[in-house]
Amino acid sequence: MIEITEHPIEVQKIIQAATSNEAGAVNTFIGNVRNQTSGKKVVRLEYEAYEPMAVSEIQTVIDRASEHWKLTGWAVSHRVGALLPGEIAVVVAVATPHRKESFEACQFIIDSLKQTVPIWKKEFFEDGDQWVSAHP
């Protein structure tokens, strides 16, 4: 299951979508909006996605993970729109027969997602805003 959503992410739903009877281990990563970045107070964030391509790039990441690890289930949800500190931006849940693989596969998926999936984050401070990682 891959989801790009404007609504609050329901963690329990994502975990359940990844879980099956063969799943001995389920690893879940939750990325929350932090209230500061490099010591500067964050007022809110805005996420934007190139949605159809984001979905297909997440699928590519999952396919690559499936070549390395036996995934018995998985689910990825990414929020878009305006988010406040403390809100959930992304959830990745991965199920595997054994625990070590669940950690490795989940970390691979979130790391890859951050590198290749066309989603952008703008941080709003009290005195301005910026697109994250845009400039050196």
Binding site: A49, S56, I119, S133
Partner: protein, 79 residues
């Protein structure tokens, strides 16, 4: 060739719209990069800029047609 270009993130601020028409010289993704760079020099200051064609990352050699869905992919920052 006149192309419609979708913009995201900071590339939207630089090009000034969600979808921008550009009259480019040449036919490849590499040629498009040159035309964009001439018209919007601020794009050169980004950490990276990929071009997606029909929702896939495209190499500079790829030849474009006016029917392709073309999008600018500035540095991503999801997660």
């Amino acid at each position: 060739m006149i192309l419609k270009i979708k913009t995201f993130g900071i590339s939207r601020d630089i090009l000034g719209g969600r979808e921008v028409e550009l009259d480019m010289n040449g036919t490849s993704v590499g040629d498009l990069r040159k035309s964009l760079s001439m018209r919007y020099p601020q794009l050169d200051k980004l950490n990276s800029l990929f071009i997606a064609v029909n929702q896939e990352y495209a190499p500079d050699e790829k030849v474009l047609t006016a029917a392709d869905e073309i999008a600018l992919i500035p540095p991503v920052s999801g997660g």
